[in-house]
């Protein structure tokens, strides 16, 4: 569904990604795994068109996203939950969800759905996003992306720094999205989460894909994944 082919990208003249290729399938979770600074966030930004590609391309169901202006990428159905949440802090919860809904303006039900998945957001509906707790902010970041009714969901360390109950809420929502047939690309560092969620794992090291594992391979060679995470 979402395919990266030989993607090279970086910041200014500093190249970070070297010929990254992988494909995320509908209804599956692809975990992008790698040490700090491996280039996971850079990969996700490259998909969103927020970085110019030096080589390669990104396609979604055959459409070449990487040749489009960045604001067309979400219009093709890519929902983005960035690392560190990056909410519109001065806007209310309701307004953040409205921004998420921009590309599918007629669909009002989706806000109700998000609020039923994250009831905490309903209680804080008219509150400014930067007054929410960390966990609530992460729910809002996730809800904002869900408002797009995405075909592909990019989650960049969505449980970083959260307490267990919040992690569960985010994880349940992720599974729910997968079950709806969405292709999920999940950047994740925690071994237990990867083992629980991943259908495929792509190992990123120094901006290069060092290998991929399927679910059964993960079970057969658990040490391969563990050594890659450095645990």
């Amino acid at each position: 569904m979402l395919r990266l082919e030989g993607v090279s990208a970086g910041y200014g003249r500093a190249q970070v990604l070297r010929e990254v290729s992988f494909e995320a399938q509908a209804g599956e979770i692809l975990c992008l795994v790698g040490r700090n600074g491996a280039g996971k966030t850079t990969t996700v930004k490259a998909i969103m068109g927020l970085l110019p590609l030096m080589a390669g391309n990104v396609t979604l169901e055959g459409t070449v996203l990487s040749s489009l202006p960045a604001h067309f990428v979400p219009r093709h159905g890519i929902g983005y939950v960035p690392q560190g949440r990056r909410l519109f802090g001065g806007l209310t919860v309701a307004e953040n969800l409205d921004v998420g809904r921009l590309t599918n303006g007629k669909d009002r039900l989706v806000v109700e759905e998000v609020l039923s998945i994250f009831p905490r957001l309903a209680e804080r509906f008219r509150q400014r996003a930067n007054t929410l707790s960390g966990g609530e902010q992460q729910m809002l970041a996730m809800g904002r992306a869900m408002c797009l009714r995405p075909k592909v969901l990019l989650l960049d360390e969505p449980t970083e720094g959260l307490q267990p109950s919040m992690i569960t809420a985010i994880r349940d929502a992720t599974i729910r999205m997968r079950d709806q047939g969405i292709a999920v690309v999940l950047v994740e560092q925690r071994l237990d989460a990867i083992v629980e969620l991943a259908d495929h794992v792509a190992l990123l090291e120094n901006g290069q894909i060092r290998g991929t594992l399927t679910r059964s391979e993960m079970a057969t060679y658990p040490q391969k994944l563990a050594s890659h995470l450095g645990v």
Binding site: G49, H71, R86, F88, L91, N130, R144, L148
Partner: protein, 308 residues
């Protein structure tokens, strides 16, 4: 005249200054808030508004009211359009880089000013106000313990000046509704908060920028059309509104809309009062001093919050 009526007169004059200043400064604040562009050419959009208002009313002839009504609508649109073109041909090309846009807008300032000098000339030219009835105003006095009204000689304002205050208030309320209640306002505020995330949710950021730059310039032009029947159009008239707008935006707190309005009232009213009782130069000196104090002791502005 006694002190009381004299103060009221000065306050009313100040209110006209404040109204026009609030419009001009809101345009500057909008552009800075959303685009992070310090638009040094903002005063020239004001000047172009006044000069074009003279040109439109002169071309049309006919009754003063008709010409002025046309100018009120056409001139802000023309100036806004010119600003959109400026944005797309200059600011977009330098990628809205904060430092380079300052240098670029200084260049734009001189281009607009000199082209106006070459075409319109160095003269100050008046625009006839659409209506200009002098309204005498009452003052209260105590006679034998009873309150009574009287009409002091010289305490009056023209109906046009009252209309300027009303029109400015109306436009500012409109801008506030646009920013807080409309979808367009949501796009602008989201872009203001985080440009990359706005892109990542499908907002055409470059189009929003062009629109904001046009809207900001149109606000300055509208302010100028309103004031030109009182002040006359001149190719150098952009300097004062630019300086005062910067003062207002800094005092009000960058990017704070209510702060900008409050600061415009403060500066405009004190400018009126100090100019009448002492001198216009003293008013400018005090305003500049206030900016220096604000920058040292409260850099987020008198009315701005420290967060975001």
């Amino acid at each position: 005249m006694d002190f009381g009526p004299y103060l009221m007169l000065a306050t009313l004059e100040g209110a006209v200054t404040a109204a026009v200043l609030a419009l001009t400064a809101s345009g500057l604040a909008l552009v800075f808030g959303v685009m992070r562009v310090v638009n040094v050419a903002h005063g020239e959009f004001f000047m172009l508004g006044a000069v074009l208002a003279w040109w439109v009313t002169n071309m049309l002839g006919g009754s003063a009211a008709f010409g002025f009504a046309v100018a009120l609508i056409v001139v802000p649109v023309l100036v806004g359009f010119l600003a959109v073109v400026t944005d797309m041909t200059v600011l977009k090309r330098i990628n809205y880089d904060p430092e380079r846009t300052i240098v670029a807008t200084i260049g734009i300032l001189y281009i607009f000013q000199q082209v106006t000098l070459m075409t319109y000339g160095p003269d100050a030219r008046p625009v006839v106000p659409p209506f200009n009835t002098r309204l005498a105003l009452p003052w209260i006095e105590f006679v034998d313990g009873e309150i009574s009204l009287y009409w002091p000689w010289g305490l009056s304002i023209t109906s046009y000046k009252l209309a300027v205050i009303g029109a400015a208030a109306l436009v500012l309320v409109g801008l506030w509704v646009l920013m807080t209640r409309s979808k367009l306002g949501l796009l602008m505020r989201a872009t203001e908060q985080d440009r990359d995330m706005a892109l990542a949710f499908g907002i055409p950021v470059e189009r929003v920028y062009a629109l904001v730059f046009g809207l900001g310039a149109a606000m300055a032009a509208l302010a100028a059309v309103l004031i030109v029947p009182i002040q006359q159009a001149h190719y150098l008239m952009g300097h004062d509104p630019l300086l005062l707008s910067f003062i207002v935006v800094i005092i009000g707190g960058l990017g704070s809309f209510p702060g900008t309005i409050l600061a415009a009232l403060l500066i405009g009213l004190s400018d009126g009062v100090i100019s009448v009782f002492f001198s216009p130069t003293l008013a400018k000196i005090l305003a500049t001093l206030l900016v220096a104090l604000v920058l040292v002791f409260r850099p987020q502005g008198l009315f701005g919050a420290r967060d975001t």
